[in-house]
Symmetry: C2
Subunit: 527 residues, 2 copies
């Protein structure tokens, strides 16, 4: 029997709070005890990754209490309820089924009269067939020319995840001979966004993917019109250059404005939709459906790992619980995500949405205010770039920011260069190893300006290479981490009511139905 | 007589702390009093911008005390000392002269035997002449073909600022017929970064700008070798494809490896170097020297505005002091920068470095630990994209994050589309106006999940259009804001000792001179 309880009603949470500030990283990460921690505080993840939390401010006793907390909060049971089709998104009265886009984790889930796994697979197959026809030149522009560019039009989850995934695999695909179409993205309602893309693509050979679950997203519909105007002005028929990804009930679903339509449903939130057709159509077109299938396999493997009930063997749950300890016991409000991989340049932006939109909430799933901190602010940039930027504050600022590193032993492209006895990839890896230790242990110096206090916690996810499978596993790891944290905080991590008020007020501005300060701002902005 | 005093020794700071939590935005921004605040709490900036702080949690009494604080901390005098050539960067015993790259603010500054303003102007002239010759086809590749692409190789301040500025003006330049060369950027030591750029440019027609003040930056020299290998493999002479931006004393300065060398000096920190040749060479090549000159004019105009001693007439000082009130009195650790302009997509990443590297410090300029919070974490993405991502947490999360909006009345490109009675640009502006009010006033709802507490402070910088002048003014505004905050916190905002330890440890890893945890991590990463 699942009970949805607030974090501060759990006995293990009270116990956890008494274990505050007991781990001094400067000591336990030094010398041989440090090496022992690195060996011990590591758990295998899917697809050859390991989650290493040696440099987190935890010890066996804290981990034991976190395991008690995980059990008391029924994390494994709640995850099972979710993938077996319980109505986890209570606010919107919806199931939460993004995991089913990549595999069957439990019982078949039947909703709206269909087996949902079969539904998602059928849409993937439709997207795969479509992509193959485009690649084979069976679907072309009116002049019979092959499409060379695919442009995704979407915002939020219809943009950030798919864009981050595309960038993550672009170099890998080039190296592995599977770059089929170049992908571009239009998201912002700022007309300069679409203008910039339209002026730098080969319009007659471009295929547009319009992504809106509801078919009513202001930005996306506006950009659709923008693009259609441009197509018509170039003497092209928009209906021959555009497909839709939407829900079956949306106004876009059966429109003749599109070459084809691919469906998702209300059980997949935007920020969890990269493995649905929202990511699937553009990624299958860009790299081929086989690559997208490998990406799904990796995500499914991570989902399976998340079923493990024992905390120390479940990397997503561990990551979640350690994050909770940092947030609610150590009181740290921000987390930085720092992938040492240029291919993951927009992965932090995706995680920013995933995490902050899921758990940035002040009421529990019953609408009652909570008396503890929930989701942290998430930000990040790739290393080593960040080292030459904001790491100054991370090392020597007055606040402590927990860090989440990601690193790979091998790079994606075949190119590298050896300088001063080491390759670029070795330099990259050496830097992330060095940073972990610098943050944990610091360094005394007689000049206080050159001193490093240390005691700044970090974890690292280490993989072999950023392949499609690895990317899928990484994506799903964070989705599951966020889900487990939401369970602990007793939040509904799958709605986003906080985005509504702004939309309502913006409409009022455009209708000139404003007064007071809103009218004053509107005038200043010449609306 | 300038005195460098800690914030917590100032009488005005004690007074300020007693004024905590007195402004309830939900009340004062509602109704006509809100409109009055919007009219009243606004100050003109350079280049037609206004800084509007109506939705910040301040009132006249707080502003009066902030003005006292500004005076007591001698902000105007310290700024004057800086631009007149005092040794403000005491840790490294250096002058701080980036403002001189764009104009003469006070007395001539003579250092190293030369008038520094004249020195910077001479380098700008050299860069302008070089760019004109490239544009005119007087400097070409060995085959006599014009260069079409310029690739900046640099990291940190040699990358983030110039890249953000390039992206900010790319659309504007296209619209105004002054796109001369396409610019690309290589920064990360990750070999996939350079590989990705090299595989997607026309190498024989590419010119590389190597940027390293010291001439010793690991990432940059590694990427230089990477690029030179690629050029040689393509049968090209690297010396005909590369220029250097460096200091006169660096090993790069007189090397025959470069077509030309352009100089900066130790008095310009990386994060303040966009207006020096670090930004000047690539931007002059990309858009023409006239455009870069206009960018400098805008920055200089903002520098002049920052000389104003009266707080309420000095936008950079106001922005700084209100930020300090939020950080040290309201206790808010993060600030989000949210430009409603896709062209400013990487401007937050530049500000992240500018702010966090300058003021993310725990010791004052004398090396003594401070007992108050200093620089906040800075993050941001363009609107409206962010609305569909992390705004959920900003609206309904358990923490309050102060916000810095930027908006423009006109977009850059000539293209727009009218849907449902409004243009995209109007929709963009309507959204930012709506967000300010939603954050400030919130909204009650009988469903607590749909309630918005409000009381979330924001300011907005409003401009006409993002032109080269406007961009320069915006850049300099934030540089001066960060400088004023550094003065208040009694920090040296111009060094970055926090980046050193990681470099030292990374070298040790590459030399295999490690033990303990560092060795263990190195092995996990297969170094």
């Amino acid at each position: 029997m699942i009970e949805w309880k607030n974090l501060d009603t759990l006995a293990a949470y009270e116990k956890l709070k008494s274990l505050n500030r007991r781990v001094k990283l400067q000591d336990c990460m030094a010398g041989e005890s440090g090496a022992e921690r690195v060996a011990k505080y590591s758990v295998p993840m899917a697809c050859g990754f390991a989650y290493n939390y040696a440099a987190k401010a935890v010890d066996d006793e804290i981990l034991d209490v976190l395991a008690e907390l995980a059990e008391e909060a029924q994390l494994t049971e709640k995850y099972a309820a979710l993938y077996n089709g319980a109505m986890i998104n209570t606010g919107e009265k919806r199931l939460v089924l993004h995991q089913l886009t990549r595999g069957q984790l439990g019982e078949p889930v039947v909703a709206d009269g269909v087996d949902k796994r079969e539904f998602y697979v059928s849409q993937q197959k439709k997207a795969a067939d479509f992509a193959r026809k485009v690649h084979a030149g069976e679907i072309t522009n009116a002049a019979g020319e092959k499409f060379t560019t695919v442009v995704q039009i979407g915002i939020g989850g219809s943009d950030l995840g798919p864009r981050a995934m595309y960038l993550a695999l672009e170099n890998w695909a080039r190296q592995n001979g599977c770059c089929k179409l170049e992908a571009r993205f239009i998201s912002n309602v700022d007309p300069d966004d679409a203008a910039n893309v339209l002026k730098t693509i080969d319009l007659p050979r471009s295929l547009f993917v319009l992504v809106s679950k509801s078919g009513t997203t202001l930005e996306t519909l506006t950009n659709e019109s923008f693009v259609k105007d441009a197509l018509r002005n170039a003497g092209l028929d928009p209906a021959k250059h555009m497909v839709a990804v939407t829900s079956e009930t949306s106004p876009l679903a059966k429109s003749s404005d599109y070459l084809a339509a691919f469906f998702m449903d209300d059980y997949i939130g935007g920020r969890y939709s990269s493995t649905s057709c929202v990511g699937g159509v553009v990624l299958s077109l860009a790299f081929g459906p086989e690559i997208f299938a490998r990406f799904l396999d990796g995500a499914h493997a991570a989902d399976l790992t998340a079923k493990e009930p024992e905390l120390r063997k479940n990397p997503a749950m561990l990551d979640a619980l350690i994050g909770l300890y940092e947030r609610n016991v150590l009181g740290l409000p921000v987390t930085a995500v720092l992938p040492y991989s240029q291919a993951l340049s927009r992965f932090p932006a995706h995680l920013q949405q995933l995490d902050m939109e899921s758990n940035g909430k002040s009421v529990n799933r019953f609408g009652e205010p909570v008396r503890y901190s929930t989701g942290p602010v998430i930000f990040g940039e790739p290393g080593t770039n960040g080292q030459h930027s904001f790491y100054q504050l991370l090392h020597q600022g007055t606040d402590i920011v927990p860090l989440q590193f990601v690193g790979f032993r091998k790079n994606q492209a075949g190119m590298d260069v050896e300088i001063q006895g080491s390759s670029s990839q070795q330099k990259l890896c050496a830097n992330v190893a060095a940073q972990i230790m610098a943050f944990a242990c610091g360094k005394d110096d007689e000049n206080p300006n050159k001193s490093f206090a240390g005691g700044r916690p970090s974890s690292i996810i280490i993989g072999e290479q950023l392949t499609p499978e690895a990317l899928g596993a990484l994506l799903a790891h964070f989705e599951n981490k966020v889900m487990f944290q939401g369970f602990c905080w007793n939040l509904n991590s799958f709605d986003q009511e906080g985005v509504q008020l702004g939309k309502v007020l913006a409409k009022r501005v455009l209708a000139h139905e404003t007064d007071g300060a809103l009218k004053a701002y509107s005038e200043l902005l010449a609306i």
